[in-house]
């Protein structure tokens, strides 16, 4: 039986100067690069496949398989792009990883690049995180100085350059094809697939796009083996991963555990819901994953467990709300986020998210009329599955799941403002003048 928590990626975060190359090397950092460069690229991919690592950016696609889709006979250069856009509401794991241990990502990028035959790799970091970008820039510079990047890495004959690239504020650039357009210096709008990035990605060349945590998991897999990694987790969801607990809990924070831990277990570790309150609803993996209730406290937080209760594991961003919280209010705020972040390319999402905001504002103000809940669901139906990319599906998921679990609360919006039913000050962590609402 594995322990409840299994820090691997987060093991060094508390160390003195953990972000520097000396501290990283002192604990065996970059050993995995030496090991990987002594193997064939295919052998490296094979180990990652055997480990059962699935993408940690939300979709859970097997990482080794993704790497093996890169065509070997394509004459164009191959690219690795690390998705460090981390903007899904609730998601806050990649930024602390990069701030505390940027070399874990750099080491993973070297190994992944070698495996797919790439000589130029990019880390696309959301722009609004200055210190994270500083740390990553410095880590890359240190890796060059140490001969871990550049020409003929450690005498292996293998060359690699890494470019740290700051975005400029756009959630949609986390969607992998929008990210590629953005990285090409364009508006970040999703591309039609196929062709898939593995065949025609950045500069129409074969490209692998992976989440920060996916790539950062690779050095530990190379060091300790596929069997070690897959000894953690559940049958189809292997390994350790970072769960982010936020909201009305006594102690919010990051927890690295084998896949399949439950929210009940995580809540116990964090001291539970804040004093005198109880759990009302939560997201398993960011606002795009359908919300759940106390009924789902014991469902394993893995890909299958969450799918089984009509949600998704997503980014493992557990946002926890207690009984003081108005579901209508949070749903409106999330939909306002999607409306703001809709890239505008397709009509159902661009217009539909606007209509959803208008409707939800009426619910919040107690001005909705009989039948508006069905209208809300109708509009969702016009958007979900009918838009160009998954942003719109996320926008709809938070509405439909909220109505599914809390329909009476929406119906209450036919008569009573949400801030009367749930005085907003009570949800805040500090005293707020009652009656105050946005």
């Amino acid at each position: 039986m594995t322990d409840l928590l299994t820090p691997v990626l987060s093991a060094n975060w508390g160390q003195d100067h953990s972000w520097g190359i000396d501290a990283y090397r002192a604990q065996g950092g970059y050993d995995a690069v030496a090991k990987a460069l002594a193997l064939t690229p295919d052998a490296v991919t094979g180990i990652v496949k055997d480990a059962g690592l699935r993408g940690r950016g939300g979709a859970g696609f097997p990482t080794g398989m993704k790497w093996s889709f890169v065509p070997k006979d394509n004459p164009n250069p191959k690219y690795l792009v690390v998705n460090a856009d981390e903007s899904e509401p609730g998601t806050c794991k990649d930024m602390p990883l990069l701030m505390a241990s940027p070399h874990t990502l750099v080491e993973g990028m070297i190994i992944a690049s070698y495996a797919i035959g790439c000589h130029t790799a990019f880390a696309y970091v959301r722009g609004e995180v200055l210190h994270v970008i500083r740390r990553l820039q410095q880590a890359v510079a240190q890796a060059y100085e140490a001969g871990l990047l550049g020409k003929d890495i450690q005498g292996s004959g293998y060359d690699l350059d890494i470019i740290v690239h700051a975005g400029a504020g756009a959630y949609i650039c986390g969607e992998e094809t929008a990210l590629l357009d953005s990285l090409e210096g364009r508006r970040g709008q999703p591309r039609l697939r196929p062709p898939f990035p593995a065949v025609a990605g950045l500069y129409a060349s074969p490209t692998v796009i992976n989440n920060v945590e996916s790539i950062a998991s690779v050095p530990s897999i190379i060091n300790r083996g596929a069997a070690w990694f897959s000894s953690m987790g559940t049958e189809k969801s292997k390994g350790m991963t970072i769960y982010s607990l936020s909201g009305h809990v006594k102690r919010p924070g990051q927890f690295e555990a084998p896949l399949g831990i439950t929210l009940r277990q995580l809540l116990e570790l964090s001291g539970g819901i804040r004093e005198g309150h109880e759990l009302k609803f939560w997201t398993p993996g960011g606002s795009s994953t359908p919300i759940l209730t106390p009924d789902h406290l014991d469902t394993p937080l893995d890909y299958e467990g969450m799918a089984g209760v009509g949600s998704m594991l997503g980014t493992k961003a557990l946002q926890v709300f207690d009984e003081t919280t108005s579901v209508v209010r949070t749903t409106l705020r999330w939909v306002e986020f999607y409306k703001h972040e809709s890239c505008g390319k397709c009509t159902p999402c661009r217009e539909g998210s606007w209509w959803l905001v208008q409707l939800l504002k009426k619910f919040e103000a107690g001005h909705a009329v009989d039948g508006d809940v069905d209208k809300l669901l109708d509009v969702c139906d016009d958007i979900g599955g009918k838009s160009f990319c998954a942003l719109a599906d996320g926008a709809v998921a938070c509405v439909t799941s909220a109505v599914r679990h809390f329909r009476p609360e929406f119906e209450a919006g036919y008569a009573t403002p949400a801030w009367e039913l749930f005085p907003y000050g009570r949800s805040a962590l500090f005293p707020v003048a009652e009656g105050g609402h946005a």
């Binding site: 928590l5 722009g127 700051a166 400029a168 300790r224 555990a257 570790l269 705020r333 606007w354």
Partner: protein, 240 residues
């Protein structure tokens, strides 16, 4: 429900303010723009960093900055402004010396972010997307800044100001206004928004070693594991 207008990423106006033609872009800036363009396999990839650099020099995306980017990359000014107007971090009007953001996405909003924003608005006497008359502060409503375990979250010049309260925010703004030293929760000493933009453009300021490795919340799970003696399993055949 009438009056439906498509809102762009810049709700306040449709395009870059072309009437203000002032600029600080000089030969040094042009050389740096060219340097950025040279860092990528295809030069146009440098456009986002180049626009960050333009902001660090001109305090906004200036018409001259748009022309400079177009010239260096060999694309049209329309192509550059099309990009500049898509991303929220690019400003059409000057940003303050300190750019303040308050997260009001659902989780932060509920935990106190809405009240925090009201406090900051009252303290600075401005609303989001405005700048104080003396140019010291500009204000923005932020979407989730990937720090929800430190909610409610505020950012100053894109540095983390974690676990904010109205009182802490007021003190912080007073210190900044008085030119006193302010330290980010997880980051460096606060300098200015323009200096931040220069780092985002890809010109490091050598301050990566400032600040802690992580915040308390980031270390929570690891701390509990240590206290309980929990760890990842040893690999098979390991001699450790």
């Amino acid at each position: 429900m009438s009056g439906h207008e498509f809102q762009s990423y810049f709700p306040e106006s449709g395009s870059v303010d072309m009437t203000d033609t002032s600029t600080n872009i000089d030969e040094t800036t042009m050389a740096e723009l060219r340097e950025l363009a040279g860092r990528y396999p295809q030069s146009r990839s440098a456009l986002l960093p180049m626009l960050h650099l333009v902001q660090s020099v001109d305090g906004r995306v200036s018409p001259a900055g748009i022309e400079a980017c177009a010239e260096v990359l060999g694309i049209t000014t329309a192509q550059v402004s099309g990009v500049a107007t898509f991303y929220t971090m690019y400003r059409r009007r000057p940003g303050g010396k300190h750019h303040v953001g308050v997260c009001t996405t659902a989780l932060c909003a509920v935990m106190g972010g809405d009240a925090l924003l009201e406090t900051v608005e009252a303290k600075l006497g401005i609303h989001p997307d405005e700048i104080t008359p003396d140019g010291t502060f500009s204000l923005e409503r932020l979407e989730c800044n990937a720090a929800c375990d430190f909610a409610p979250v505020m950012m100053v010049n894109w540095e983390f100001m974690d676990n904010m309260t109205p009182a802490k925010a007021e003190g912080l703004l007073e210190d900044l206004a008085a030119g006193r030293e302010v330290q980010a929760s997880r980051g460096a000493t606060i300098t200015s928004w323009r200096e931040a933009e220069r780092v985002l453009a890809g010109f490091p300021d050598g301050r990566a070693d400032e600040g802690p490795s992580a915040g308390e919340a980031s270390l929570l799970g690891k701390g509990i594991a240590d206290a309980e003696g929990w760890a990842a399993p040893q690999p098979e055949g390991s001699v450790l």
